[in-house]
Symmetry: C2
Subunit: 350 residues, 2 copies
């Protein structure tokens, strides 16, 4: 009868190398604390037995899971998935695993995160969603729980949490000003989802640009949306119903911009001939859309990487700066063919 082999433990290695488990453990985690000869024997024993460390046991003893939890509003959105890509890359380099919690349509998302964190499966929380219940999050992040927490992409104002962000308001202002500089005087906005920080910030930037240029802010030129293509498509119908239409639109993101243009095209309105459009995010499809989309490019990879860095520095206690960290990155205007001068007959009288 052959022996039923289980995966080897540190005990097996110790027995084989004729040392104690303590020595094996030290050989692994601080090799310079064991003598050269012992080190060689242990290494050989590890090789022969095929030992691999049981991370669960280590986690229990050291009270660290070497894992971070990333919470996203919608992983299907390429904007978030490319940030997740950067996060995963950085985490892997630093020896951390990545657990994902997709909050799209989730029931009581903040509670779910709380349970996750309190069950000791992750050491820190990386939050890409600004719409969660702040009270629950604050409970988590303060004593006695003191869960390390970094918020990225979507600001949670007055929360005191560490944040890695882009300046949405400034970027939105820049995008809108681009349209104004092209000569547009009738400029509309395709909004993001209601009750969303990013929506508010981009709207604020839009508003400021219009005000600075003494242009009217018309309610009927503010189109409801929710960052998804279908919402842009639906908004196009409202556009068509207008007696007086804007000649340019700043959309809260690329996806809804694309949906909007797609909707307009069905009614014979062509971009940039009849309307200019600027989006936000610079998705992969933006340069290949028809027309190629003018948009604000957020440094997504950088954002994901810095968010992960910030959190892991906290976990590894490499960062001792007191108080709230706040990293703000800038977005760039990428001019493509979806924006142009307004048509002559629609240009304002000089």
């Amino acid at each position: 009868m052959t022996e039923l082999k289980k995966t080897p433990t540190i005990q097996d290695v110790a027995r084989f190398a004729n040392v104690s488990t303590a020595t094996v453990s030290r050989t692994l985690s601080s090799p310079d604390r064991v003598s050269e000869g012992t080190r060689a024997r242990v290494s050989e024993a590890i090789r022969v037995t095929g030992y691999t460390l049981n991370q669960t046991a280590r986690s229990l003893r050291q009270r660290t899971a070497k894992t971070i939890l990333v919470a996203l509003p919608d992983i299907r959105n390429p904007f978030f998935s490319s940030i997740l890509d950067a996060i995963e890359r950085e985490a892997t380099n630093r020896g951390y695993g990545v657990l994902v919690a997709n909050l799209f349509l989730a029931h009581e998302p903040a509670r779910r995160l709380q349970e996750y964190m309190l069950s000791n499966r992750a050491d820190g929380l990386l939050l890409l969603d600004g719409s969660l219940d702040v009270a629950t999050l604050r409970t988590l992040s303060t004593a006695p729980y003191s869960v390390p927490l970094v918020v990225a992409c979507e600001e949670i104002p007055n929360s005191g949490f560490h944040m890695v962000l882009t300046d949405n308001m400034q970027a939105a202002e820049r995008a809108t000003r681009h349209l104004i500089d092209l000569g547009h005087r009738r400029v509309g906005h395709l909004l993001g989802p209601e009750h969303n920080v990013v929506t508010r910030e981009r709207l604020a930037g839009f508003t400021k640009a219009l005000r600075d240029a003494d242009l009217p802010l018309r309610q009927d030129w503010m189109f409801r949306g929710n960052f998804e293509m279908e919402s842009g498509f639906a908004a196009a119908a409202h556009f068509m119903a207008l007696a007086e239409r804007p000649t340019a639109i700043f959309a809260a993101n690329d996806e809804s911009a694309i949906g909007f243009l797609s909707g307009l095209r069905q009614h014979g309105i062509e971009c940039p001939r009849d309307i200019s459009m600027v989006g936000f995010d610079d998705l992969g499809v933006a340069p290949h859309y028809s027309p190629p989309l003018t948009t604000m490019r957020q440094p997504r990879e950088m954002l994901g990487r810095m968010a992960a860095e910030t959190l892991i520095d906290l976990l590894d206690e490499l960062d001792h700066r007191p108080g709230q960290l706040r990293i703000v990155l800038n977005s760039d205007l990428i001019v493509r063919a979806s924006t142009g001068h307004p048509r002559k007959e629609e240009a304002p009288a000089a």
Copy 2:
């Protein structure tokens, strides 16, 4: 001096409720084995102390992490991220966490997965990448390790692993036949990345459709690609350089199809006027592209959900079917405006 509170353990609950830890544990995992009175006392104690279970300790004892590892070739690709979305949803419902490993540009991906699995951080592996080293994977999946493994999306032929797939060859054949049925006689193919199973399967379907229709399979009409937009864009240059051009293209996926059309448009070639194009995947942008893209829709959500179901059934030992499981789903042809009849002057003589 206030007491420094640590997170409460099962010991604290036991002390408070005046029972043993065994009883607390039983109250949590099999309440019917505990008397009503005790159960009430324990529940109250849990409430008062604010106890939450330490999953790491449970994992160590039960030798299950209640976590699955999902390995993807490229999480930024919306095709994979929407499958991941479905997987995460199903896993969460079944009480499992999801660790992600993004293999894009990873060094020795199979080894990395092996280390991950052998460190006991995950109970099972869900593989969305068909290009990994089969030997390493087989070592993992067989005794003594016996890691439960399900392969989805990309077949690993002759591996014996459980699989959840769509029939790529049949779908590719269907897509190509659609072009032929429209009257095209000069049909090209934009390939996926080399050495990729999916690329081979879709090519096989394409080839079969042409052969069945007695149409020529021309090497100069096979365009190199790698599923990414830029590769399609680059391929367009090769198209332009041809003396004799196809009137229709079947692209291995939507992204490369979009890049290709974008490249052609730069040279004044318009779809569907000058060329018909059918893609694969039905990405979110497909219906909103200009022109809306004809494509094969894969049941992504279903695929992700079934893959997760299959793996978790294995883990929870709900599935005792012997041998290799193999679930094959069908894709649907979605006809949109990117395909049409060839122009008269290019149609073949009757």
